[in-house]
Amino acid sequence: MAATEQTIDQVRELTEGKYKYGFFTDIESEMAPKGLSEDIVRFISAKKGEPDWLLDWRLRAYRHWLTMAEPDWGKLHYPPIDYQDAYYYAAPKVKEKPKSLDEVDPELLKTYEKLGIPLKEQAILAGVEGAGDMPAVAVDAVFDSVSVATTFKKKLEEKGIIFCSISEAIQTHPELVRQYLGTVVPYSDNYFATLNSAVFTDGSFVYIPKGVRCPMELSTYFRINAKNTGQFERTLIIADEGSYVSYLEGCTAPQRDENQLHAAVVELVALNDATIKYSTVQNWYPGDENGKGGIYNFVTKRAACRGKNSKVSWTQVETGSAITWKYPSCILQGDNSVGEFYSVAITNNMQQADTGTKMIHIGKNTRSTIVSKGISAGKAQNTYRGLVRILPKAEGARNYTQCDSLLIGDKCGAHTVPYIESKNRSARIEHEATTAKISEDQLFYCRQRGLAEEDAVSLIVNGFCKEVLKELPMEFAVEAQKLVAISLEGSVG
C-alpha cells in the first residue's frame, strides 16, 4: 500500500530542506521568476532541452490560452486567480536523508499514524536512511515539477514497458510522445488544459507494448510543495494492442495558507483489446474549517478507447482540495469498447467539488458505467456533473449511471447535473439518482452497539461508498477507507 509514498516523502524532505536553506532566493534553485509569458514557456522548454516541435506546441498553446476565458459554469466559488502571481518552474535539490524518525515532520507522522501505517513502514515512507529496501510498487515520483526518482525500471524494461517521467520520455522516446501527446486532450481543449500544455513541467509516461500484461501496479505519488508553484503535471499512458496496465495516482499535501493552483492533464490511449485501469486517491490540503488555504485542483483527464474491445476504468477517491474541477472521461471510439467511472467525492467544511465524467459513445456496442458517490458535510458543496453522449453510429450503445448523494448535517449541499444526448435509437440509457442523509436512527443503532459517533459515521459512509472502493486495488482500498474517516473528522457532534 503505502510504499507508493516512499519517493514523495523522500523528496518531501528535500523541499523541507529548501525552506531551511533559503532555497527561494538561491540561484541554484533553478526557479523561474514569477509570472507567465512566452519567455517563461521558452525557459521551461530550454531547461528541459526539448525538441523544437514541442516548444512550438507549447507556444501555440500559450498563445491560444491568451484568447481564452476561465470557465465559470462549475458550481464553484473562489476568488479570481492571479496567474502572474505564481511560479511556473522549480527544480528540487538533493538533500541528505533524515537519520531517524525524530527528524521527520511530526505532522506527517501524525497523518501516517491515522492511516494506520506501522512504524517501520513510516520510516521507509519518510525516507529515513537505511530504513527499508525497494518498495513493492513501482514508483515514479513527480515532485516539485521534476521527476526525481524512478524505481523498478529494470524489471519493467525486461517486458519492454516504458515507465518514466515524461521529460525523460521526450528525450528517449520522442517518436512515441510526439505520436500521442495532445491527441486525447488537444492543446486547445479547455482553459486549464491549454495552460498545462504551455507550461507543463513533468509527469509520468507509460507505454505497454503489444500483448504485455504489466506485472505490477504502476504508481505516482504527487505532492505539491514549493510555495506558490502551480503544478502542471502531464501524464500520458499508452496501452498497445492486447495489453493491460493498472496505474495508481495518489496525492497528499502539507498544510499551507495560500491557495495553490493545480492544473494537470492525463491522457490515456487504449488500442485494440487493451485495458487501462486508472485509480486515484486525491488528498490535497482542503483548507481549514473556514475555507482558508487549500489547493485549487482543475484537472483534465481523458481516455481514448481507440481500439475495438478496449476498456478504460477510472476510479477516484477525492477527499482533498478546496476546489475540485475534474471530469475523467472516456471516448469510446472502438467497437465494443467499455468505459467505467467509479467515484467517491467527499467534501467537508468549506470544500467545493464539481466532478463527474463524460462518456462519448462513438463505436458500435460501446458500453459505459458510471457510479458516483458524493458525500457532503459541514458547509461543503458537492456537484456531480456528467455527460452521456451517444453518437449516430453507436448502434447498441448502453450506459448505466448511478449517482448517490449523502448529506451529513443540514448546512451542506449536493447537486446532480446529468446531461444525456442520444442520437441513436437503439441506445439504452439508464439513470438512477438518490439523495439521503445519515439518519439519526442509523447513528443511534451503531452507537447502541458500542461505536463512537465518528466511527459510526465513518462506517456508514464507507458502506455508502462500497461499490466504488471495491474497484480500487487492495493496497489503495485500505488506505482509502481510512481516508474517508479522516476527511470526515469533526463532521458530527
Binding site: 439519526e440 442509523q442 443511534f444 443503532y445 452497539r449 458500542g450 461505536l451 462500497k466
Partner: protein, 252 residues
Amino acid sequence: MPLIEIKNLHASVDGKEILKGIDLTIDAGEVHAIMGPNGSGKSTLSYVLAGRDGYEVTDGSVTFAGVDLLALEPEERAAAGLFLAFQYPVEIPGVSNTTFLKEALNAIRKTRGEPALDAMQFLKLIRAKAKDLSMTDEMIKRAVNVGFSGGEKKRNEALQMAVLQPKLAILDETDSGLDIDALRIVAEGVNALRSPERAMLVITHYQRLLDYIVPDVVHVLAHGRIQRTGGKELALELEAKGYAEFGADEAA
C-alpha cells in the same frame, strides 16, 4: 446488589412527558417482562435507558452495575453491558453484518481494555453464534438488515446480542413479525444467554413470547407508570382480560 435500579424516572419527548415516574429494579440472573398497551411508553423506556438523543430525562435516576447510567453516552452504555434489541432494526447499506459486529465488538472490547479480535477469531465466533440461530453464512455476509424480512431482522438482533454478550438485554417486541418457528429459535437463543450474571428485560404486547422466555417477574406499564407487578401468571391474566382495566393509551 441489583444490576439495574430505576428510580422515579420521568422522561419527555418533544416536551411531552411520556414516562411519569418509573420504579424498577432487576437483579442479575432475573428475567423481567414489561407488558402494556400500544403507546404506553415501553419503547420510550428502552430508548431512555439506551441514551437516545431527544429523549429527555426530567427527573429520577438509573444505576446500572453500580454506575450512573444517565451520565453515559450511548456507546459507553453499550460498553458497560447494556444491549437493546430494537423493535424496528435499522438498515445500514453496504456494511456487512460481519464488519458491523466486528467493529462493534472490538469498540466495546477496547473501552473495556480488552484486546481486539482479529478477523479469523471473529469469524469463528460469529459463525458459531449464527449457527445456533439457524442463520446461514450468506446472511451474516449481507449488509446489516438490508433486504431482511421482519423475522430475519429480529433474528439478526438476537445474533448481535449473542455476540456482544451483554449484562442487561432489553428486547423490545422481539416477537413481532416472527412466525412460530422463528419465535422458538429466537427464544432459544435468548434462553441460552440466561445466566446468573445476566438479566433481561423483555418488552412485549402479547403473552405468547413469554411461553418461550419464561419471566421471573411481569410488570404492566400504562400511562407512563408501572401499574402492576406480579409473577408469570400475570401475563396469562392480561392475555385473558386485555388491558381494558388500565384504560386505553393513545395509539403509538
